[in-house]
């Protein structure tokens, strides 16, 4: 039997052709949506808390835990394994199946391709699951569409969401980039150079800080234009950040599935790279991949500080380089610092190390229950981590705002 005969063609996935009308005129866009795409983007939602009960079943086998899930409305019972209980807890109507699968891999270090569909079938059979197709923000906007401001926001988000320039055929490009020089970034020499640059950059930055007022004077009357240029230049380096993430994947012999540009959450312009394949390898690889992108900002920031330090005091070049250095270093810190309510590289490393892939969501939900007086009295390890995460993040965001206010007033004075 030949290999072709042994592996029959999988059945074709169904597609829907939808016409989405624009609000402004009679124009329209036609979108073809495959059922597979819809499935991974769907957000399964378990029934309301009062409609089910969950209890652990005592087991005589060490290390194995089972749970009984009961639908209190229909009296249907399901036996769940621990991984299935974990998945059940993720099905909150806000998390997509794709994100749930990622969380599963982070928690258990492997992926069972059948577990999610099988569990969903069981849950649907027991009427324990509903499905909501879109985000809560979009649902809230749709409900209040009659208000002109809300309608304008919705229109804006829709327009921005349409902008997605990406390619799924980038593996060859990243492999070539890696082969022709990219591999150097993952050597001990590169780590040493980065460390040296960081020290030199830090020293230059401290000296520049003392000359703050004189440096800002270098912008003259073009401060706004200069800051916009600094921001634009920084934005381009975000592409470099993502490319280095992609190179890290190649370094660990994984696949770069997609690279492109989009609007994050519908309004934050950003480049992105799909690094999900890294979840199939070691934790060390995941950590290196996460950190490597952020190091781009450390290196660029240090170089900018060195340029600023060696430029004439009060010149435009010095002001521009110092501002660029500052924004790059801030980006480095924000990317790696996990306690800021933003799910950046550092947050993913923390979640990975703690084995709590939905740390932020769980912590916020716990605080919400605490505020409403519904949190359980137990204050175990998980609750301690939640509390620490929220407290540190709140303090950090406050300090970050204070630092930027101080930066502006320091420059003004």
């Amino acid at each position: 039997m030949t290999e072709t005969e042994a592996s029959p063609t999988p059945p074709r996935r169904a597609k829907l052709e939808l016409l989405v009308r624009r609000d402004t005129d009679d124009g329209f866009d036609v979108r073809e949506i495959g059922s597979g795409t819809a499935f991974v983007r769907s957000r399964p939602q378990r029934v309301a808390t009062e409609s089910y009960e969950l209890a652990e079943v005592a087991s005589r086998v060490a290390g194995q835990r089972s749970f009984i899930l009961k639908n209190t409305a229909t009296d249907r019972f399901l036996l769940l394994s621990e991984p299935e209980k974990f998945l059940w807890e993720q099905m909150d109507g806000r998390t997509s199946l794709q994100e749930i699968a990622t969380a599963y891999v982070l928690r258990y270090g492997a992926f069972d391709f059948d577990i999610i569909p099988n569990l969903m079938r069981k849950l649907q059979g027991a009427q324990l699951l509903t499905l909501t197709p879109s985000s809560r923000l979009r649902q809230a906007l749709a409900r209040n569409r009659r208000q002109p401001v809300v309608k304008a926001i919705e229109l804006g988000l829709t327009a921005l969401e349409r902008i997605n320039i990406s390619s799924r055929n980038v593996q060859r490009l990243f492999t070539a980039l890696y082969r022709y020089g990219g591999f150097l970034l993952f050597t001990r020499g590169a780590v040493l150079v980065c460390a040296l640059l960081a020290i030199v950059g830090l020293a230059a930055g401290v000296k520049l800080w003392r000359e703050g007022g004189d440096i800002v004077a270098g912008f003259g009357g073009h401060a706004v234009r200069a800051i916009l240029m600094v921001k634009l230049l920084f934005f381009l380096t975000v592409a470099a950040h993502q490319i280095v993430h992609g190179l890290a994947l190649i370094h660990y012999r994984r696949r770069v599935r997609e690279f492109g540009f989009t609007f994050l959450h519908g309004f934050v312009p950003t480049f992105y790279v799909d690094v999900t394949d890294i979840f199939m390898t070691s934790r060390r690889a995941r950590v290196v991949t996460a950190i490597s992108g952020a190091v781009v900002h450390l290196v660029l920031g240090s170089l900018w500080f060195v340029v600023a330090r060696s430029s004439p005091l009060g010149s435009f070049t010095q002001a521009f380089a110092a501002a660029s250095g500052m924004i790059q270093w801030q980006a480095f810190v924000i990317a790696l610092y996990p306690f800021c309510f933003i799910e950046m590289d550092g947050y993913h490393v923390l979640a990975d190390v703690l084995g709590m892939p939905t740390l932020k969501q769980e912590a916020m939900a716990w605080v919400g229950r605490l505020v409403r007086g519904r949190a359980p009295r137990r204050f175990g390890r998980h609750e301690q981590v939640f509390a620490l995460y929220v407290v540190l993040s709140t303090i950090s965001v406050g300090l970050f705002i204070a630092f930027n206010i101080m930066l502006v007033s320091h420059a003004r004075s």
């Binding site: 996935r13 169904a14 597609k15 829907l16 052709e17 939808l18 016409l19 989405v20 009308r21 624009r22 609000d23 005129d25 009679d26 124009g27 329209f28 036609v30 059922s35 597979g36 819809a38 499935f39 769907s42 569909p117 969903m120 079938r121 069981k122 649907q124 059979g125 499905l131 749709a142």
Partner: protein
């Protein structure tokens, strides 16, 4: 009125009129009005009253049905030689779908009076016309069945719903 030689040559190629003899086809051609359309122009909206059927002479037309809000399901894309709008012509009911030009297009419109004139003048032409119409209706009915099956399959696949589950 569109009675040019080009129109006649075009009508001869249209499946709906393929068995109509040339003299009757000329009468038909004279009864049809040419409608140029810009890209994106809406010919009729779902729910509008309808008095005419249209044959696409040039360009591409998209037929869609409202699903929710600004989202419509594309039922069909049709091109030169295809026709639409015949249901309202016969049963006087509101338009069942929205029809819009997907590119610059030209339509030939046939109203109830024009159709009556042709069928009265030549019962043989009328028989040929209605026979072709029935055959095309059967094809469309089969296609609708396929579309319903495809949409159902899409729903099952997109939700992971297992209908065998008890």
């Amino acid at each position: 009125m569109s009675s040019s030689t080009e129109t006649l040559a075009f009508l001869r190629e249209v499946r709906l009129f393929k068995d109509i003899a040339e003299p009757e086809l000329m009468v038909l051609g004279r009864s049809m009005e040419e409608r140029p359309l810009k890209r994106g122009q809406i010919i009729c909206r779902e729910g509008d009253p309808g008095e005419e059927m249209f044959v696409v002479r040039r360009g591409s037309i998209v037929i869609s049905k409202l699903v929710t809000g600004r989202v419509e399901q594309v039922l069909a894309r049709i091109g030169p030689g295809d026709f639409f709008g015949e249901m309202s012509l016969f049963d006087r009911s509101p338009r069942s779908a929205t029809v819009q030009a997907d590119s610059e297009a030209t339509l030939l419109a046939l109203d109830r009076e024009g159709l009556r004139r042709v069928t009265e003048q030549s019962p043989r032409a009328a028989a040929a016309f209605f026979h072709a119409l029935v055959l095309i209706f059967i094809e469309r009915l089969r296609a609708s069945g396929d579309l319903v099956a495809e949409v159902t399959r899409w729903g099952l696949e997109a939700t992971g719903l297992d209908v065998d589950a008890r």
